[in-house]
Homo-oligomer: 135 residues x 3
């Protein structure tokens, strides 16, 4: 069980790569556990689809500008550092939606909420499945 | 109005059925009101689309493994027990997204956040529309 | 940084327009900063896709009834009043998903969670890009 810690609501500047920016932010603030959600617009996002048989993510590269129709993520430790695991739904210019594990995306706009959770240490460890999971 | 209660961030073990596992969890913990979000991967998920004229959900059966690109839900009482109402967006191996009311899905990975809400009793009652709704 | 304020979990009555109802609710309650998520069903929703070159949203009009597979939003001030910025993923009768910036939609069912954030004043200002953004 956890209790609520610090809360953040902020915009990532245009041009930043979403995942890199978030990891720098979490490390700087020392947020080791928490949840994230975001909306906005990304350029050239890459999303992953887990190939269980091959124990790796297939990378789906989307070209152009997509609305972040939804982004939900969680923060825990991996290799001793804050790690964001985020999934995303992206909308194209016709409103069609695409979704999966967010690998990367350049920010046009990203409005991000972070809720820190205080409590036990939550750490990912590599498993036989090829995924870094909580116990 | 509500105030924040207990918070949970955990993984559902592989092989469990998502909705059944969550209902057992909520009942065991005594979480009667709250919100949920989750990401992960589901096998053979079924989603519902409400047919207003027929007062029932059409069941859309998806075959195979899908990323949970988004899962948002709320917890309240139905027939005196904790009830999770969850909607989901699922991504296939090409990144295409599907969405609706989550009926069931077997877990490959599910990372779940639960925030308990404390306050008045929030209870679903069956309505003439064929939906169990809050007052 | 913010701290948690009031929390709400409620249903918007059938027939209301989602965005108008939410803005009236936020103004009446005096919620100036916060986050929102929702699930439910909307009729004839309109979603926007931002056309960067034209500095405006393209409006995508969807006809009929769609599940709100996901709705994530944030609340801040615009022109001195509470303003909800919400993005949505919608599922049709075949489970296909559509997504973007929520412009409007008539409610069949909408179950909404609001978390107020207390702290500094967060205000949108029109930018050269044609978007009202936080500093």
């Amino acid at each position: 069980m956890f209790s609520g810690g610090r809360m953040y609501l902020f915009r990532i500047p245009e041009g930043e790569e979403f995942m890199s920016y978030m990891h720098e932010f979490l490390e700087k603030e020392g947020v080791e556990t928490g949840i994230v959600n975001a909306i906005g617009t990304l350029r050239d996002p890459k999303v992953g689809y887990f190939l269980e048989g091959e124990k790796r993510y297939k990378v789906i590269e989307l070209r152009g500008t997509y609305e972040i129709a939804s982004l939900i993520g969680n923060i825990s430790l991996k290799d001793g550092r804050p790690f964001l695991h985020a999934h995303v739904v992206l909308g194209d210019s016709e409103g069609r939606a695409f979704g999966g594990h967010l690998i990367e995306g350049r920010v046009l706009v990203a409005e991000v909420f972070v809720l820190e959770l205080k409590g036990k240490r939550l750490e990912r460890k590599m498993t036989e499945k090829g995924l870094a999971l909580w116990p």
